[in-house]
């Protein structure tokens, strides 16, 4: 392993993380709900009575984030190397996996670890581990 210090952006990562934590805190303190994105999207699709309004509002906020950002400065780079077939396969895996596993990076990662939940710790280790292995296979074994 070599560390790419030139690409290391500790302060924006910490500050961005703190904003994510702040958003999570606001939704919890004001709405009493967990900011788990896969749960929010999955719940929207399932149209549970009484839970659609806040989920829709949160999702619209997420979608509007880049527009708000653009009022002040240019968007940071969003570089997507994957081709369309890979994007479709990855999207399906993420959609099915997050619902089957009841959470993603936000619900299990941020919220679950903040709650000191052993269940979420196991989930986080599983998806991080699978992410590391997948990138290793794709980049170093298949050489893509």
């Amino acid at each position: 392993m070599t560390i790419d210090w030139n690409a290391f952006t500790p302060w924006s990562a910490l500050a961005g993380g703190a904003l994510i934590g702040l958003a999570t805190a606001l939704l919890l303190v004001a709405n009493g709900r967990i900011a788990g994105i896969s749960g929010i999207l999955g719940g929207l699709l399932a149209r549970q009575p009484g839970e659609t309004g806040w989920r829709l509002a949160f999702t619209l906020g997420l979608l509007g984030g880049p527009t708000l950002w653009l009022l002040f400065r240019d968007l940071p780079p969003i570089r997507i190397e994957a081709g369309l077939p890979v994007l479709v396969a990855a999207g399906l895996l993420v959609g099915i996996g997050t619902r089957y596993g009841s959470g993603c990076t936000s619900g299990h990662g941020v919220c679950g670890l903040s709650r000191l939940s052993p269940r979420s710790l196991v989930a986080t280790l599983c998806f991080m581990g699978a992410g590391f292995v997948t990138v290793f296979v794709v980049r170093h074994l298949l050489g893509a």
Binding site: T2, G21, I37, L45, I80, A82, G91, L113, A123, A130
Partner: protein, 142 residues
């Protein structure tokens, strides 16, 4: 419009700004973080550190409370089960994350930034969620 709709919208906005600032919404950065055997960029580990540093005290405050400050029922997850769905689902999710570099939040934010490839990923993700829901409903009739 009631207060909880507004706070949810603002929370979504702030969440989106955090994903942009941290570069979690940039798949190239995510894949560089997941590439331990390559030229590793450890930055995104600090996103989790920053988020949990804020989250810890707030979730500690919420523990045992029944209501949010706006009077909503405070709903914390009740399951403690470490079971097959949790593990298999999370492994599948991680594989998809490692393939494209997108997890759900960043995919929505990149969609909001007008990235067509993010739209493709997001539509596939929503299709996967729907397929799973229909399959589960068929497997366990309510």
């Amino acid at each position: 419009m009631n207060k909880t709709t507004i706070t949810a919208f603002v929370a979504g906005l702030i969440f989106g700004l955090g994903l942009l600032l941290s570069q979690m919404a940039n798949p190239e950065k995510v894949l560089a973080f997941l590439d331990l055997a390559g030229n590793w960029d450890p930055s995104l580990a600090l996103v989790m550190v920053g988020a949990i540093a804020v989250g810890l005290p707030v979730f500690a405050w919420a523990k045992g409370r029944q209501q949010s400050l706006l009077g909503e029922a405070l709903e914390l997850p009740s399951s403690n089960a470490i079971d097959r769905p949790l593990v298999v689902g999370s492994l599948l999710f991680g594989a998809g994350w490692g393939l494209a570099g997108f997890c759900p939040g960043p995919a929505v934010v990149a969609t909001g930034a007008g990235e067509l490839k993010a739209v493709v990923f997001t539509v596939a993700m929503l299709a996967g969620m729907t397929a799973f829901r229909l399959f589960r409903r068929q497997a366990q009739p309510a």
